[in-house]
């Protein structure tokens, strides 16, 4: 159903849980909304003013009020607990990682750091690439997010994943992509004049393609990224 609502195609393992909650709330809200609107419109039309008529003097109905309150509270508390278990699955006890990355955000680029050939992070063999992320399909990817300057937000619509990247913090997230393809990574937290367009590409590929790509990269490492000076403001848009 969600594709009719313009949802991006889901490619993550926890995406279906998120989408299911969205749909559940959707149907509850739609049913309640239609009921409330019908009641409102019926009252508005049925009880419109007519000459010689007097409204009925009713000050309230405690029993109805209690029933309505309890019903609303029950639905909402149930929703809160259902959301709570999904939240725990995603945020508190995720699966162990199989592929590891460092992501460093800065105005207005994403730096993706891959560990050296041994799979361990150590300054010498690490491979840092700007605005391009490759991951193998069906593998749990664990990322450490850091920022060099302001708060950014790591947002991959197709993965249903969004996490603010806060300077001074190392924030862990994980995902497991289930389909190969090319997707977009965007910054979702205002981070300055280059916020719009601060994006990167995410390539999900098979393990073999990924290994091959990584090997190529190690063989021909890209130029090291520019030092972390803030990007130059667009022409004339900012004072000196």
């Amino acid at each position: 159903m969600l594709e009719y609502l313009y949802f991006p195609h889901d490619i993550s393992t926890f995406g279906p849980q998120v989408d299911w909650l969205f749909e559940l709330i959707f149907w509850i809200v739609i049913v309640v909304w239609i009921a409330v609107m019908i009641a409102m419109l019926v009252f508005m039309i049925r009880y419109r003013a007519r000459p010689g008529r007097k409204a009925q003097y009713i000050e309230g109905n405690s029993r109805l009020e209690i029933v309505w309150t309890m019903a609303t509270a029950a639905i909402l508390v149930a929703l809160a607990f259902m959301s709570r278990s999904t939240w725990a699955d995603i945020k508190e006890h995720g699966p162990p990682g199989e592929v590891f990355f460092l992501v460093n955000a800065k105005q207005f680029n994403w730096e993706f750091t891959y560990p050296g050939p041994g799979g361990k992070f150590g300054a010498k063999h690490d491979l840092t690439i700007e605005n391009e992320m490759h991951v193998p399909v069906n593998k749990v990817v664990r990322i450490d997010l850091t920022s060099r300057d302001v708060i950014h937000s790591f947002f991959v619509p197709n993965l249903r994943l969004k996490q603010d990247v806060v300077p001074g913090h190392v924030i862990h997230v994980w995902f497991e992509a289930t389909e190969t393809g090319q997707y977009e990574i965007a910054c979702a937290e205002l981070c300055g004049f280059g916020h719009s367009g601060m994006k990167a590409s995410l390539t999900v590929q098979s393990q073999e393609d990924f290994d091959k790509w990584l090997k190529d990269q190690y063989a021909h490492p890209p130029a090291p990224p520019a030092p972390a000076a803030p990007a130059a403001p667009p022409q004339g848009a900012s004072p000196r």
């Binding site: 998120v18 609107m37 003013a49 609303t72 909402l76 939240w87």
Partner: protein, 584 residues
């Protein structure tokens, strides 16, 4: 006899104290004049905030093209009419800041609070008239400071109305230097103004109610303003503290929010939202109270559960203190905290649902009169239901992980703040206009304004929910830079065209206010046949609010269609036992 004497005495006093032009219209201590001052300041600011919104919508629908008619704007704000990213960021920052701090709160709290509290509780003035005057003028100074930031080098603040540190804390990150400083100073000054107002409101409501006006006989508008004043009194010091720390970081070399010196960026968010969550209810509670009064009046029926409504508003105010973390689910805050905030956030929908139930119940078996004020009040209910229920998605943290900082949030806040508060404001202004200005607003023009606004509002903001579902981030300058957002380009264009209609329609409202001020039909004392005390005095009320004695209250405010009397209303001040027909 005693009342005749009081009239004579008052008349004599009035002659002695007939104030001059400055004391009447500028440095007035009369709560009614101060209310009008707040109203006109806010309407002026609304036109600026609205213009910002129109420019943003142009940019989002037709990115990086020239805005027609804006070639005259000097560089670096615009380049031959095209909006650069920094200007765009400044515009959404100032749009939100102006609309929240200089439009919605000044009208709901400054205008309605000042105008209604003494008149509805039966007081001749506010508790502290001089403080009241000072409150307006300090607020006006804050407005001037905020507007002056448009003229400093670097332009106005561009870090969003939430001004998240470190973006807001270091000038080089946004390229805005004094603009952001002035933003902080202006809101600190405005906070002082609001504090003076809220102290005054609380003192007045607690101490100056007329004889018989018990707390549970107060109109719901006064209940809501009372709760609002308490919220502001407690929440504003938090914002002032945060802004002072931010200013120290910017100008004094401290590192409260800067990790480079051991500071904590999330501290800003905690401080800001601890203030911000009560603030959000400050912007909607008075509208709820106003709408309750209007719906009961035009349904000619008691409100369906008066105490229920009062308690629901108290519950919302209480819950607002323990749910600020709903804004921080993806901020990097501990997920266990997020789970706790999720539950408190869900719970606040319960009192909101009770209120909706009360409004619907009031219509039931009523005799509903569709005046322009009532239509706006009913629109408030319908839009508040949509805005409120869309909050449930974002209250669910896993779903919020997808929807956070997207247009879904933008749609939600506009359904609550425009669909809610602003329709409440339209309803309130139309309803009390005769009392404020002594003339009726034009009903036909009011209804035309209502229908155009209602339709174009929904065409503008409802599709934003769909943008949010598509993943459209808020605060981005050019959505066409993203491949995954290409399917929604036509929706963005549709929204922008609707928003231009919406913006233009507001001139009808302004025109109605100005035209009716001079040409409207003269208003009688009680044109709506309402029960509350403000309708027992001439329109507009004289100085001191009542000629003769202040009315005494015998019953609650919503005795419409009471079986005790033949008419369908029974004013609070009318004594049945001592009615003129009855033998004394």
């Amino acid at each position: 006899m005693s009342s005749t004497a009081a009239v004579a005495a008052h008349g004599a006093r009035a002659e002695h104290h007939a104030p001059g032009f400055w004391r009447t219209y500028v440095f007035s201590e009369d709560h009614k004049m101060i209310a009008k001052q707040f109203l006109f300041m806010a309407l002026f600011m609304m036109s600026i905030g609205g213009l910002m919104a129109m420019l943003m919508r142009w940019e989002l629908a037709f990115p990086e093209t020239q805005v027609p008619g804006f070639h005259w704007v000097p560089e670096p704000f615009m380049y031959d009419g095209a909006i650069p990213p920094n200007t765009y960021n400044a515009m959404f920052t100032m749009h939100a800041t102006i609309m929240i701090f200089f439009v919605v709160i000044p009208i709901l709290v400054g205008c309605f609070g000042n105008f209604l509290i003494p008149l509805m509780i039966g007081a001749r003035e506010m508790a502290f008239p001089k403080l009241n005057m000072l409150s307006f003028w300090v607020g006006a100074v804050a407005g001037v400071i905020m507007l002056s930031s448009f003229f400093v080098t670097g332009g106005p603040a561009a870090a969003g109305w939430t001004s998240y540190a470190p973006l807001s804390a270091v000038a080089i990150y946004t390229g805005v230097d004094w603009g952001q400083n002035l933003w902080c100073i202006s809101i600190i000054v405005l906070g002082a103004s609001s504090l003076m107002g809220s102290i005054n409101y609380i003192a007045t409501i607690v101490n100056m109610r007329t004889r018989g006006m018990y707390f549970f006989r107060l109109p719901l508008a006064i209940w809501s303003l009372f709760i609002t004043a308490i919220l502001m009194l407690l929440a504003l010091p938090m914002l002032t503290t945060a802004l002072a720390l931010l200013l120290f970081d910017r100008m004094g070399g401290t590192h409260f929010f800067l990790p480079s010196g051991g500071g904590e960026p999330l501290l800003w968010q905690h401080l800001f939202w601890f203030f911000g969550q009560p603030e959000i209810y400050v912007m909607i509670l008075p509208a709820m109270g106003i709408v309750s009064d209007i719906i009961a009046t035009f349904s000619r029926k008691p409100i369906f559960g008066y105490r229920t409504m009062a308690y629901a508003m108290v519950a919302i105010a209480f819950l607002s203190w323990i749910e600020w973390g709903q804004h921080m689910f993806v901020s990097g805050m501990n997920p266990a905290l997020g789970a706790a905030f999720m539950i408190t956030t869900m719970i606040v929908a319960v009192p909101a649902a009770i209120e909706t139930f009360v409004w619907l119940g009031t219509l039931y078996k009523g005799n509903v009169h569709y005046t322009a004020a009532m239509m706006n009040a009913l629109a408030f209910v319908a839009m508040f239901v949509i805005g409120g229920m869309s909050g449930i998605w974002m209250a669910s943290a896993p779903v919020d992980m997808y929807l956070h900082d997207s247009y879904f949030v933008v749609a939600h806040i506009h359904y609550v703040l425009f669909g809610g508060s602003l329709f409440g404001i339209f309803a309130g202004i139309t309803y009390w206009y005769p009392k404020m200005f002594g003339r009726m607003m034009n009903e036909t023009l009011g209804k035309i304004h209502f229908w155009i606004t209602f339709v174009s509002f929904n065409c503008t903001f409802f599709p934003m929910y769909i943008l949010g579902m598509a993943g459209h981030m808020r605060r981005i300058y050019n959505p066409q830079q993203y491949d995954f957002l290409t399917p929604i380009i036509p929706i963005n264009e549709f929204i922008s065209i609707s928003s231009f209609v919406l913006g233009a329609a507001q001139f009808l409202f302004l025109a109605n206010i100005v035209w009716s001020c001079f040409r409207g039909a003269k208003a009688i004392d009680n044109p709506w046949h309402a029960n509350t005390l403000e309708w027992t005095t001439p329109s507009p009320p004289p100085q001191g609010n009542w000629r003769g004695t202040v009315p005494i209250v015998y019953r609650g405010p919503y005795e419409y269609s009471s079986p005790e009397v033949a008419e369908d209303f029974l004013p609070q001040s009318q004594s049945i036992e001592h009615s003129p027909a009855a033998p004394d």
